[in-house]
């Protein structure tokens, strides 16, 4: 039975060759662009996530608490109607208490690499020029393993921090603004009133302006003295082997040590949400293309059913059931969907090839970049499922109408 329905379906489509081709190209366009866009979208998304994962700590422990400390009065009268007015938290020099022990305990956990940090503000002066900057006190051996700083250094090395008495690694943008260069000595003063003379031992370049013009690095011990906060750290950076388990690990760390521990995905939540929305938009566009393709198929199959009313009538009088007639025309939709999808695979693959061969320059970057593309058979499968569903539905509507044709009406009319 099916081979006959298939043959009739094919014959009808061939008789409407041009219209069939147009509908088929509609499907191919939908499928092709959907594949190419999926590769680009997922590619850029993964590229972005990988950059975040490489460039930032997977988990950052801060000297903060997720909920503000309870006021003693509120604790005392837990169910009472107590209103506290003008309660101010006591000014305290913040920091992670017992940071040394915390670092040791974290390092004992499998899969974690840990680096303590003291971050604070300073003003840097060089021959009458003042620039505010963030100074990050690091332990180079540990820091090397949680950050890309070592890789971003253009002149000098991370270890050069040890060579000079007061070594400083400076962003190249900041150095340019100060007019300072390698080996120059700048004056660094902290809010605590301590002033150091520090020597630029290395310059780094990340490509991110806010970092290149706003950050300097020095040894943790020096920064603690500079900020007058001996033995204090206010950040702990953690890298984990299980990047996608970072959220749960952060939760566990926070529960254990009390300090706010933020995973990379929590810290970049808004961006990740935006990526999701972007995916929704993409699939909406693809659905719209396929809707148009579906309309093309609806058109062909509709036209054919009207042209072939006599054939439908005689087939029904011969003993074809409604389902048999429906099958013929739904098959036409599926044939157009299948052929269109296969053309679409070629188109999608071709578009990806073209996109991957494009090289271009991003502003503020010196290197040529390529579009980040991600290839997955799923992109082909999903686009095809969408296309086949659209094609099947588009054909089903006229097919159902054709199957319900009353042969008596047609046979009377043709006599």
């Amino acid at each position: 039975m099916t081979p006959l329905a298939l043959r009739i379906a094919l014959i009808h489509l061939r008789a409407r060759g041009r219209q069939t081709l147009v509908s088929l190209l509609g499907v191919a366009t939908g499928v092709g662009f959907s594949i190419a866009m999926a590769a680009l979208m997922q590619g850029s998304q993964l590229d972005f996530i990988n950059k975040i994962i490489d460039a930032t700590p997977h988990i950052m422990i801060k000297d903060e608490f997720r909920n503000p400390a309870e006021q003693p009065a509120a604790r005392r009268y837990a169910d009472g109607a107590v209103a506290l007015d003008g309660a101010k938290p006591t000014e305290e020099l913040r920091g992670i208490k017992g940071a040394g022990r915390t670092v040791t305990q974290l390092e004992a956990m499998p899969g974690l690499v840990v680096a303590p940090i003291l971050r604070g503000q300073v003003v840097i002066r060089y021959f009458g020029k003042d620039e505010a900057a963030a100074i990050v006190g690091i332990d180079p051996e540990r820091h090397r393993r949680v950050s890309q700083l070592a890789g971003d250094i253009r002149d000098g090395r991370l270890d050069d921090l040890h060579t000079a008495a007061n070594g400083l690694i400076m962003g190249d943008g900041l150095a340019r603004k100060l007019g300072a260069g390698m080996g120059d000595t700048v004056t660094v003063s902290s809010p605590a009133g301590v002033v150091f003379k520090m020597k630029i031992v290395a310059l780094f370049h990340t490509g991110v302006i806010s970092l290149d013009e706003g950050e300097v690095y020095a040894l943790l011990k020096k920064v603690q003295v500079l900020q007058d906060r001996q033995n204090v750290v206010n950040r702990i950076y953690v890298k984990t082997d299980d990047v996608y388990g970072a959220f749960d690990q952060a939760r566990a760390i926070e529960a254990r040590f009390g300090y706010r521990a933020e995973s990379w995905d929590e810290a970049n939540q808004d961006i990740l949400e935006a990526l999701k929305i972007r995916n929704v938009i993409m699939y909406t566009v693809v659905a719209a293309i396929l809707l148009v393709a579906g309309m093309g198929i609806f058109n062909v199959v509709s036209t054919i059913t009207f042209e072939k009313l006599r054939d439908i009538a005689i087939l029904k009088s011969m003993g074809f059931r409604e389902a048999d007639i429906r099958a013929i025309f739904v098959l036409q939709g599926l044939i157009a969907g299948t052929a269109g999808s296969m053309l679409g695979w070629a188109l999608g693959f071709g578009l990806c090839q073209i996109m991957s061969s494009i090289e271009f320059k991003v502003r503020f970057a010196t290197d040529l970049t390529q579009l980040p593309l991600y290839y997955s058979p799923w992109h082909y499968a999903i686009a095809t499922v969408f296309a086949m569903t659209a094609a099947g539905l588009a054909a089903y509507i006229p097919a159902r109408r054709a199957a319900r044709v009353d042969p008596v009406d047609i046979i009377r009319g043709a006599a």
Partner: protein, 234 residues
């Protein structure tokens, strides 16, 4: 053997068909017929008397609004459209004034379509049977021709072969010779007589041609949707 001893292949009992409308149209009214194998039955009557309407009812293409149609003794009133389609496929064959051959298929393939739907024979047996049917109707040389390459009489004979594809017990034809000249008409009627007398089929044929109607074994005359005479001839 008389008709009383045999089971009729098709029975119409008090069959009335009214088209629902603001002013309902009665196509046929209170028809009683028992149709037996082995005879050619002609239905005649003036234009608009309900001949085609009756044929569609007997052929299960339409349903009566009153009364019932039986095929092989089974009431068809309660059957769903799939069951009716099955009966048409296995027991009934139609030939209309227009041949209704599928234009893209050869004569042979047109004849094979009902066989394929029934699916009882393999490809070789279907081809052999269709070739035989066409050969018996003197179309042996034309099996590969498309409908548009056939004359009116040839196309109509292909349509007859197609109607016989699944060896139906009843052949229902509506002015099958309406588009044919008298020579071709007579040839078609010869075929009908052979199908009835040699194969024992029931052949019901609506015709305007009174000469042909005169050749039938039985003649039913309709006027205004009712049977006004029902006579055996010869």
């Amino acid at each position: 053997m008389t008709n009383e001893d045999r089971q009729p292949l098709v029975v119409a009992r008090n069959v009335t068909r009214v088209l629902p409308a603001a002013v309902p149209v009665t196509l046929v009214h209170d028809i009683d017929l028992d149709i037996f194998g082995g005879e050619v039955m002609a239905i005649t009557g003036p234009s608009g008397s309900g001949k085609s309407s009756l044929l569609y009812l007997l052929g299960l293409l339409d349903r009566p609004t009153e009364g019932r149609i039986e095929i092989d003794g089974a009431d068809t009133a309660a059957m769903n459209s799939d069951a009716l389609a099955r009966l048409r496929l296995e027991r009934l064959g139609f030939v209309f004034q227009f041949h209704f051959l599928l234009p893209e298929f050869s004569a042979l393939e047109n004849v094979m379509i009902p066989m394929r739907r029934l699916g009882r024979l393999d490809e070789a047996s279907m081809t052999a049977r269709a070739t035989d049917l066409l050969g018996a109707l003197d179309l042996g040389d034309l099996v590969r021709k498309r409908p548009d390459q056939l004359s009116g009489g040839q196309a109509q004979r292909v349509a007859i072969a197609r109607a016989l594809a699944n060896d139906p017990a009843v052949l229902l034809t509506d002015e099958p010779t309406g588009n044919l000249d008298s020579k071709n008409s007579a040839a078609v009627f010869d075929i009908f007589e052979k199908l009835a007398r040699e194969d024992g089929r029931a052949v019901v044929t609506v015709t305007h041609d009174l000469d042909l109607a005169g050749r039938a074994d039985r003649r039913v005359e309709l006027v205004d949707g009712t049977v006004v005479s029902d006579r055996h001839q010869h």
